[in-house]
């Protein structure tokens, strides 16, 4: 970079130093960690895996009571049983159970919205980046229009007309993320379009579709996966806020935001009611953000090398 820097080209920031030293001292420890990541990155990854497992298989957890039926006394303190781990809410339902089922709801919304956004965003972005011209401008306009509105407001506008529903949230939030994915895809395609392998494929007579799907698309994956976790965290937060306001997932379905909202009345006497959903949301968002940072860092490093 400059000549006034370290003449040996070493940039020993403490993280690098520490990991280098650790790696040198304990060769086996590299298998325990995500490559190039720190301990918190691994913890975050494990947490997310657990979260996905819970979302998929919560029905099969033995001994877990239903999230909708009261099972104990009102507003009990947490104890060491499976269902009482986080206490009971004002109706007597197990908070722990509701948190786990809430995980399913949240993850479902995240999954479907992201799928919508990713597919549409990829499609629009790749076409815009490959063919440029008016189509690119249209896609830019669309992305800018999306950025010019807060998603929460639009969902609320829909709710004003159609009433709260899960489908509304999923679709609207999904549409809002299209812009970001499209922009990333477009930028990626533009930067890849002039690379040798693309020119070679075209010279060999490959169709545009084949080039886009089989040659360019795999190279977009690092950049896309770098932004995904951050957007997913945003989805969790937005859905949580909407449920908190009462316009998200309709009660009595368990949702973290909704649980927090219904606990606020009793906060003065039973402050621990919010413990469960708050921990769930904070850990989830934190895990997504951490993974997002890690992937972005990896992307940066890879780009710097190539």
């Amino acid at each position: 970079m400059t000549d006034i820097g370290n003449p040996l080209g070493l940039n020993p920031g403490p993280d690098a130093k520490l990991s280098e030293i650790v790696r040198a001292a304990t060769p086996w420890s590299s298998k325990l960690r995500l490559s190039g990541g720190s301990v918190s990155d691994t913890v975050a990854a494990i947490f997310l895996v657990l979260l996905i497992l819970v979302a998929l298989f919560v029905d099969f957890i033995p001994g877990l009571v239903s999230p909708r039926l009261p099972y104990g006394d009102f507003s009990q303190l947490p104890d060491w049983s499976l269902n009482g781990l986080l206490g009971t809410d004002d109706i007597g339902r197990s908070i722990f159970s509701r948190v786990l089922y809430g995980a399913r709801t949240s993850m479902m919304i995240v999954a479907i919205s992201t799928t919508i956004a990713l597919v549409a965003g990829l499609l629009l972005g790749m076409l815009a980046g490959y063919y440029r011209g008016y189509f690119e401008r249209a896609v830019d306009l669309f992305a800018n229009a999306l950025a010019a509105m807060p998603s929460t407001l639009v969902v609320l506008a829909f709710v004003a007309v159609t009433g709260p529903s899960v489908i509304t949230i999923i679709v609207v939030l999904g549409i809002f993320d299209i812009g970001t994915y499209a922009r990333v895809a477009k930028a990626g395609v533009i930067s890849q379009s002039n690379r040798d392998y693309v020119l070679a494929a075209r010279a060999m007579g490959a169709t545009d579709g084949r080039i886009l799907l089989q040659e360019i698309l795999p190279n977009l994956i690092p950049a896309l996966t770098a932004v995904m976790p951050t957007l997913m965290a945003g989805l969790i937060i937005t859905e949580g806020s909407l449920s908190f306001l009462g316009y998200g997932i309709p009660a009595p379905a368990p949702s973290w935001g909704g649980m927090i909202a219904s606990s606020t009345d009793l906060l003065s006497r039973f402050p621990l009611l919010i413990l469960g959903p708050v921990l769930a949301i904070v850990f989830t968002v934190y895990a997504f953000n951490t993974i997002g940072d890690y992937l972005a860092q990896r992307l940066n490093n890879r780009e710097r090398e190539s």
């Binding site: 006034i4 820097g5 370290n6 003449p7 040996l8 020993p12 280098e20 030293i21």
Partner: protein, 342 residues
């Protein structure tokens, strides 16, 4: 070395050693550096990339990288720099020493007007008023040859060429009227014709203002004819140190001799193959015990690899070198007469 009663050393280094911690262990970047410069004298520091020239300059200026351990004594204007509080050291260096770095394209802040970048030293260290600082800065801009100085004052760096940027750097270095001016590879990044202009400018300024000067370069041609003394660095060690004319005429260390012979000369026939020094500069991580030049030295013996040579003196007491088997004293045609403009 005799110092005349009216002159004193503006800068002196005694047994200076610089070590940097790295993953593979401590690296000795500089070892046992001894030299001094008197007022109104010019010193040239030459060596290959990696010989430690830049680190030496940074250590003196107090901008060495974090984690650099400096042992030994550096004295500026008679004051031991290591004994000063950081704030006082910073003020002393800023006031007494001006420095011009290698890369004019990156040495100026592109977001700040050049006028401010010149005057800031004066305003901070000398407490100059806004108008006074501006006046002095414009004077300096004229001195270094920037046309329309008053108009250019509010321009941004990107509006100037590389050579002009370097002149601006020189002006900035002079704002506090320093006693010592350091030019660290100041002309390396410039065009050949511009190099000569800038070096001449530096020499003139030094003479006019009666400053001391250090010219750091890997290019012997830069220091030839412009310096009173020369210090040759190799692998972090001083291999030769003495009056420039004497060292050029009578190099005692084989590295110095090789450097001199590698310079193209006007009186050589065209297409003469230039002499090169075989081998690579030493890897500081695995530094050999003895003389750092031993692996590449054509006359190296067993002792050269094991024992670091002591410093011996030549005909003149001020000419010193570190070699077990130095070249003998022969007079030779001085290549310094040849006008090889770089």
């Amino acid at each position: 070395m005799d110092a005349s009663p009216t002159s004193r050393a503006i800068l002196s280094c005694s047994n200076m050693t610089c070590e940097l911690d790295s993953v593979t262990g401590p690296l000795k970047i500089l070892q046992d550096i001894n030299f001094s410069i008197d007022t109104r004298r010019a010193l040239g520091i030459v060596g290959e990339s990696g010989a430690g020239k830049s680190m030496l300059v940074k250590a003196i200026m107090g901008i060495a990288p974090r984690g650099l351990r400096i042992a030994g004594k550096i004295e500026l204007d008679g004051q031991d720099l290591s004994k000063l509080k950081p704030k006082d050291r910073r003020k002393l260096i800023g006031r007494r020493v001006g420095i011009v770095f290698q890369n004019p394209m990156t040495s100026l802040n592109p977001f700040v007007q050049i006028g401010q970048q010149i005057e800031e030293g004066g305003r901070i260290h000398l407490g100059l008023s806004h108008n006074e600082a501006r006046r002095r800065a414009i004077e300096l801009l004229n001195l270094v040859g920037i046309p329309d100085a008053a108009d250019c004052y509010d321009y941004y760096p990107h509006q100037f060429s590389g050579g002009m940027k370097q002149r601006i750097m020189i002006a900035a270095a002079l704002i506090c009227e320093p006693d010592l001016l350091i030019a660290d590879e100041a002309t390396t990044a410039l065009d050949v014709t511009v190099q000569k202009e800038v070096l001449d400018l530096l020499q003139n300024i030094q003479a006019e203002r009666q400053m001391s000067m250090i010219l750091v370069s890997h290019n012997l041609g830069v220091v030839a004819g412009r310096t009173d003394e020369i210090l040759v660095l190799y692998g972090g060690n001083v291999v030769e140190y003495g009056p420039t004319a004497e060292v050029f005429r009578n190099p005692r260390h084989r590295y110095t001799e090789a450097l001199l012979s590698a310079m193209p000369q006007m009186d050589q026939p065209a297409h003469t193959r230039l002499r090169t020094i075989p081998g690579q500069p030493p890897n500081l991580a695995s530094r050999p015990k003895g003389c750092p030049f031993a692996p590449r030295c054509p006359a190296a013996q067993a002792i050269c690899h094991d024992v670091m040579p002591d410093v011996s003196t030549g005909i003149e007491a001020s000419h010193r070198f570190a070699c077990h088997f130095p070249l003998s004293e022969i007079s030779r045609l001085t290549p310094v007469e040849a006008a090889h403009v770089q």
